[in-house]
């Protein structure tokens, strides 16, 4: 029965179904390092699948975006898991696609006849970064808002047409409702429309030229193994491992809770997501009217062009790493530089950060807001027009109470008013209480 259906379909569609792709052979030495490409594809599929369902409950408007994301996380069945997979999947994708690229570079697999495979791969890496950048704004948090302000400003520093480009990317002079809708459309419509054909082309080229044999073994008689099921089993095992890591990160680290975007903030210190930190850090070293545009525009453009045209610039057929000392050294320098800049960007504290009121640090206030959100204070209180006015409004609470008084009121509301209907938040840790008070004191 099954074979009759298959035969019927084969007659209609022509040729074996996926047969050519699955029933091919690959060099025997194809192994774990080669699973990085399929892991990248797998993570892309996870992003697409989780993204489709996330989009069903997401609203791309500044008034609703943050709340719709909270709704997904807290109200949708398994919504937190879904969002966790999408959130951590993005980071995992950046890591895995980077490793995949590095593997191909070290093996010299971009060399003839696989130049175009590499070039489509570079375009796909750029697409992944574009996905990361546009997706980052969507939760409309302080972090995502300000990272986008700074990120789009980078476009604005392009000589001559910068202002025009900035307006084009943001859709308006400032990052606002138009920007959010634009980024959403780009993230869920434009980029996938570019991604799908490029992935198909990339896979077709992998199939057409076959997996590159081990460097130096090109001329020898090649032992082969089957792609399906031999190599594909390895691929699936690694994909499963990646998926388990995503679940693990979601369960253990959760999704970072963040503060709602506040465009009028002057105390917030913008910082990008970790995968853009290296660039953020790099920009500190390019100073003045001459070097600044070089660091912001010229250097990144040069690196991208160099990567894209690499197979045309380096046409020596030699693929063995030992015979390519300069290429390997360049890769080493690039990896060390990326890791170093990311590390410095992560640990360097911004100098002279303006201290928010009452001597509390920015971090403490932010932690306090997290506590505020986590304990659902807005279910009974209003802050700046948001929340439910069951209890007293808190918009200016910081100017009415001292820190000690606030702490007492939170721990034991009945101490002030025996009729108080607010539950006692006596399970809060001292650190969380202190942070919460620090946050409340900023409400003036």
């Amino acid at each position: 029965m099954g074979s009759r259906v298959q035969g019927w379909l084969r007659e209609r569609l022509g040729g074996p179904l996926f047969g050519g792709f699955l029933n091919r052979t690959v060099p025997e030495e194809t192994g774990l390092p080669h699973t990085l490409g399929s892991a990248t594809l797998f993570l892309l599929v996870v992003q697409v699948v989780t993204g489709i369902v996330l989009a069903m409950d997401y609203s791309a408007a500044p008034e609703h975006a943050y709340d719709s994301v909270l709704f997904i996380t807290n109200q949708v069945v398994l919504g937190g898991v879904l969002r966790g997979l999408h959130h951590w999947g993005a980071s995992a994708l950046v890591v895995v696609v980077g490793l995949h690229m590095l593997r191909v570079f070290l093996w010299g697999s971009y060399k003839p006849p696989r130049e175009v495979t590499w070039m489509t791969g570079v375009l796909l890496v750029l697409l992944v970064m574009a996905f990361a950048f546009t997706g980052y704004l969507l939760p409309w948090t302080q972090r995502s808002y300000w990272a986008t302000v700074v990120g789009t400003r980078i476009v604005g520093t392009v000589p001559v047409i910068g202002g025009w480009l900035l307006q084009l990317v943001r859709g308006e002079a400032e990052v606002g409702p138009v920007t959010l809708a634009r980024f959403y459309a780009i993230h869920v419509l434009l980029l996938p429309a570019l991604l799908v054909p490029l992935v198909i082309l990339h896979l077709y080229l992998v199939y057409r030229h076959g997996i590159a044999p081990a460097p130096g073994a090109e001329a020898t008689v090649r032992k082969t193994k089957r792609f399906y099921p031999d190599q594909l089993a390895d691929d699936l095992a690694v994909s499963l491992l990646a998926l388990l890591v995503l679940f693990g990160l979601t369960a253990i680290r959760g999704i970072p809770t963040e503060v709602r975007a506040d465009p009028s903030s002057t105390t917030y210190v913008p910082r990008p997501e970790w995968y853009f930190l290296f660039f953020f850090q790099l920009l500190k070293y390019f100073q003045g009217p001459v070097w600044e545009p070089i660091g912001v525009v010229v250097l990144p453009l040069a690196v991208v062009l160099l990567l894209f045209f690499l197979p045309l610039l380096d046409q020596r057929p030699e693929r063995r790493p030992r015979r390519r000392p300069y290429a390997i050294a360049a890769a080493g320098v690039a990896v060390v530089a990326l890791a170093g800049l990311t590390y410095l960007g992560a640990v360097q504290q911004p100098p002279g950060t303006r201290t928010p009121p009452s001597g509390s640090s920015q971090a403490l206030v932010e932690r306090g807001h997290e506590v505020f959100v986590a304990n659902k204070c807005l279910s009974c209180h209003v802050v700046k027009g948001e929340g439910t006015d069951f209890g007293p409004e808190l918009t200016h609470v910081g100017s009415r109470y001292t820190a000690d008084r606030l702490a007492t009121l939170i721990r034991n509301p009945m101490s002030a008013n025996p009729q108080a209907s607010m539950p006692a938040f006596d399970k809060l840790s001292d650190a969380d209480l202190q942070a919460l008070v620090a946050y409340l004191l900023t409400l003036k």
Partner: protein, 168 residues
């Protein structure tokens, strides 16, 4: 022989005509779809800039020679939304009662900066950009002095007007 050549020529002519026709039709279709699509996509960049209006920043008396944050409600039209966000600017009084109002975004990449009274400098926390009280760059990556607004005082109230890029 000559007949064959002329037949081939006729065929080439006919084929050439159809090749040209094909590309003309393809071009027309592409343009008909492409112009509205590309036009709508580019429209934010083609739209004329909003005209600056005078906005009150606060009573003159509330500012002094030491930089202070001025709050103002900036009414603007962002796409389909009327935004009346509270924005902030840095206000400095110059000798002779003149005021300077700096836009509170660093000219490097737009992070909000702050006044460090001890160091007598505006300091941007993102990439260590530093400006003196006149908005001149004294350290870090910013490519130009702080952006500023036109100012005027009327009836004891300080107003801010058109935006100017620093150094112009």
């Amino acid at each position: 022989m000559a007949e064959t050549a002329s037949a081939a020529g006729a065929a080439d002519g006919r084929r050439g005509f159809f090749v040209r026709l094909f590309w003309a039709l393809a071009g027309a279709i592409g343009a008909l779809v492409g112009v509205p699509v590309v036009g709508a996509f580019l429209s934010p960049a083609l739209r004329p800039r909003e005209k600056a209006q005078w906005v009150a920043v606060g009573p003159v008396a509330s500012f002094g020679p030491e930089p202070r944050l001025g709050h103002h409600v900036h009414p603007s039209q962002e796409g389909w939304v009327n935004v009346t966000a509270e924005m902030q600017v840095w206000v400095v009084e110059r000798p002779g009662g003149r005021f300077v109002i700096f836009d509170n975004h660093c000219t490097h990449l737009g992070c909000p900066y702050h006044w460090d009274a001890a160091a007598r400098r505006f300091i941007c926390p993102c990439h260590n950009g530093q400006f003196d009280i006149n908005g001149t760059v004294v350290g870090g990556p910013p490519p130009r002095p702080l952006d500023y607004y036109e100012t005027k005082t009327e009836g004891g109230v300080l107003y801010m007007g058109a935006f100017h890029r620093g150094g112009t």
